[in-house]
């Protein structure tokens, strides 16, 4: 079999390009909204006294935009790119691909209009009103048909590990979304869920936690298994580890939702399952980290010059860190302190900015030169982006850790009489304001980094001659070591 090349005419790369452009664009929008939210917490008048700019309406827009618009489009771009090559097959049906793309973008536009308008179901990461929920389900099924159709007509016998992870996303997100969206409409925009009270809380966080698991984790692991060996030109460290950590992850992840509702009126036994399965998730998660980092063995020398590898190393490291932090925060005693504080915000951003974002950037820098058949315009700009993003994340996460632990400790602090030391809630809020400014700086750096990337990628795509000279341009080796059969 001849070596695969990036420009095999057979593949539908047009749809990949569209998803990629959408991801970068919506990423800029979603992160800008995040920066505005951060500013509003440090300086409330930033909402300009406009109802649709208030924090309560913008924060869902931020979370939905970065999860479903930035990450969603990124995953689809990487998935369409890699699965066609891994299966040596053009996508099953080009019309379905187009319906998927335009349908998904329409949903995002609808979200961007309805959320600031205050049309919301108030379920975290599932705020969108019921008609949009139905549209999401339909488009997801369209994507699933295309996905499984491509698998059915594939020209290779075995499915590579990346495909397993993509499949777990396609199946699980469908189940989560449909169950969590079971509502009875009262009007075109208002609806009430079939679940209520503590049962509703459990369903919400079964969804919420696993949306993180199967949208922000497993598909990114899947594409890591494609893009890391490609970028580094190294074989995957251990096939056996792939098998074990994949099944460990998909089986254990789904149980961990109740760690979001510890010390609630959820029955103790259900809370315990959330604690125990979260702790058990550590090893399967780290299996992914190990396979990622150990695949880079022997490519460390390239790390100095190749920004793509830098992005991957930081992404995988943050994945390892946040999958250690997560189980720790699920332990009852730690959760008692961390829950309801900014520690959680820090945790989710070390995963979102550190893992998802950095993996996305590495993937974009890999795909754009290949898709547009040009060399990356500026390696220096990519390196600048790397440092802006990395320092931005560190500032963000450190500020939120400090804020979270400070507030958690102040809430429970007792005076000599056994009464609350800080009975006025404002006491704790005022302590956090300086940290909110630091978070704003970190988040802004991350956004600026993204804009630098966007500029660099536009230059690359438009075929401007590389600025830093062809020698330094990073391009993954097209051919990998031939197997010793």
């Amino acid at each position: 079999m001849s070596t695969e090349t990036a420009h095999t005419p057979n593949y539908d790369d047009a749809v990949t390009k569209k998803f990629l452009i959408a991801s970068v664009t919506w990423g800029a929008v979603g992160m800008l909204v995040g920066v505005i939210c951060a500013l509003q917490l440090a300086w409330w008048p930033a909402n300009l006294n406009v109802p649709w700019l208030t924090f309560g309406r913008l924060r869902p827009l931020h979370t939905n935009a970065v999860i479903f618009a930035f990450t969603g489009n990124f995953i689809f771009a990487a998935m369409y790119y890699s699965m066609q090559r891994l299966l040596k097959t053009r996508m099953f049906n080009d019309v379905l691909s187009q319906v998927h793309f335009w349908g998904w973008q329409s949903i995002i536009v609808a979200a961007a209009i309805t959320l600031p308008a205050g049309l919301s179901q108030s379920k975290e990461y599932a705020e969108l009103i019921w008609p949009i929920d139905i549209a999401i389900a339909v488009i997801w099924v369209v994507m699933a048909v295309n996905f499984f159709g491509t698998i059915a007509i594939r020209k290779v016998k075995h499915l590579y590990v990346a495909i397993w992870f993509y499949m777990s996303m396609v199946i699980t997100i469908a189940v989560l979304h449909i169950v969590n969206s079971l509502v009875l409409p009262a009007s075109a925009t208002v609806s009430y869920p079939v679940f209520s009270g503590i049962t509703d809380a459990l369903v919400q966080w079964w969804y919420g936690h696993n949306a993180v698991g199967f949208l922000l984790t497993t598909p990114i692991l899947g594409l890591m298994y494609y893009f890391v060996p490609k970028t580094a030109g190294r074989p995957v460290y251990s096939y056996r580890l792939s098998i074990l950590h994949f099944w460990g992850l998909v089986f254990l992840y789904i149980w961990a939702g109740p760690h979001h509702i510890l010390y609630s009126s959820l029955p103790d036994w259900a809370q315990t399952t959330g604690v125990v399965f979260s702790v058990m998730l550590l090893a399967p998660s780290w299996g992914g980290m190990l396979n990622g980092l150990l695949t880079l063995r022997g490519a460390w020398d390239k790390l100095r010059t190749d920004p793509l590898l830098k992005f991957w190393v930081v992404a995988i490291t943050f994945y390892g860190m946040s999958t250690f932090e997560g189980p720790m925060m699920s332990i009852r005693a730690v959760n008692a302190l961390s829950h309801f504080t900014d520690w959680t915000i820090g945790h989710v951003h070390s995963g979102a900015l550190g893992w998802v974002g950095m993996a996305a950037f590495a993937t974009f820098y890999y795909m754009v030169p290949k898709l547009w058949n040009n060399q990356l315009y500026s390696v220096k700009a990519a390196t600048l982006h790397f440092w802006l993003a990395t320092i931005g994340i560190v500032l963000y996460v450190m500020a939120m850790w400090t804020a979270g632990i400070t507030q958690g400790l102040m809430w429970r602090e007792l005076d000599a009489d056994g009464q609350l030391q800080y009975p006025n809630f404002m006491d704790t809020v005022l302590q956090l304001i300086p940290l909110y400014w630091i978070r704003l700086v970190g988040g802004t750096m991350y956004l600026v980094g993204l804009l630098v990337m966007a500029w660099n990628l536009v230059k690359t795509a438009s075929g401007v001659a590389p600025k830093d000279g062809p020698e330094q341009v990073t391009a993954a080796p097209e051919s990998l070591p031939t197997p010793a059969k």
């Binding site: 924090f55 309560g56 009875l184 009262a186 009270g197 503590i198 459990l202 098998i243």
Partner: protein, 246 residues
């Protein structure tokens, strides 16, 4: 070797992989969620827990619309510092009619599950108009437009009908009476606001939101106190013969 079995039996068959994945991701959710629907484990409403009145329901829809849950939780945890600060911890039996449960995940502001009755109506009015008037240094946005907009009684009736279908015990009479009930309950709040030289209409959004906030955790607190009293009475009753035996 397990690896080669996996390769032969699973990786080569997309359908097998899909079925096994579906099974793997279904078990956890089923084991955790399904038992809450059994009679023994599912939460029952506590004594005196009633569905929201039409005005309170309208207020709750405003709470949802403005995304209050993004900064305010509604779940007091069973820790002494939390019960000192907020009041009794939140029981499953007092939130059975909450769809969706407004638990929240972050306390940028304080928990609100037991805020009902903690402040006078006028406090909420002033606080929504400008949070810094009542809480110096607050970072909460102003919600002054709630004073200028009114609720739609027909929308409230549609909401009540949907909730009734889902099992919330609203009667048809209550639904038919909703517009009048809004005027009655809103009128009481307006009267209290006017006593403090504030003016409002019974169907103002700020009045509805105040009505919703003012009932939060109140019936639950009473139900919990009743349970405690009953338990104390029972204990007092059984302790005497026990000490006699000693």
């Amino acid at each position: 070797m397990a690896d080669s079995m996996h390769r032969k039996l699973i990786e080569s068959k997309g359908a097998v992989m899909a079925v096994l994945t579906t099974v793997a991701i279904s078990i956890g959710g089923l084991v955790e969620i399904a038992p809450l629907y059994s009679e023994a484990l599912g939460p029952e409403p506590m004594e005196g827990i009633e569905p929201l009145t039409p005005l309170e329901l309208a207020g709750r829809d405003i709470y949802v619309r403005e995304g209050c849950y993004n900064c305010h939780s509604q779940m007091v945890r069973p820790f002494r510092d939390e019960t000192l600060r907020y009041g009794e911890w939140t029981r499953a039996g007092e939130i059975v009619y909450d769809r969706p449960f407004q638990m929240g995940s972050r306390r940028i502001g304080p928990d609100l599950q037991r805020v009902g009755g903690k402040y006078p109506d006028a406090w909420h009015y002033e606080h929504m108009d400008d949070p810094r008037a009542t809480s110096p240094g607050s970072i909460m946005p102003r919600y002054s437009w709630l004073k200028e907009r009114q609720i739609d009684p027909e929308a409230v009736q549609a909401s009540m009908r949907a909730l009734q279908t889902l099992g919330t015990p609203y009667t048809d009479e209550q639904i038919a009476d909703a517009p009048a009930a809004i005027q009655r309950q809103g009128g009481e709040i307006v009267a209290r606001l006017e006593a403090g030289n504030l003016s409002a209409q019974p169907d103002d959004q700020i009045v509805a939101l105040t009505a919703y906030l003012q009932q939060l955790g109140v019936a639950g607190r009473k139900a919990i106190q009743a349970q405690k009293d009953a338990a104390a009475a029972l204990e007092a009753g059984t302790e005497i013969p026990a000490s006699v035996e000693d």
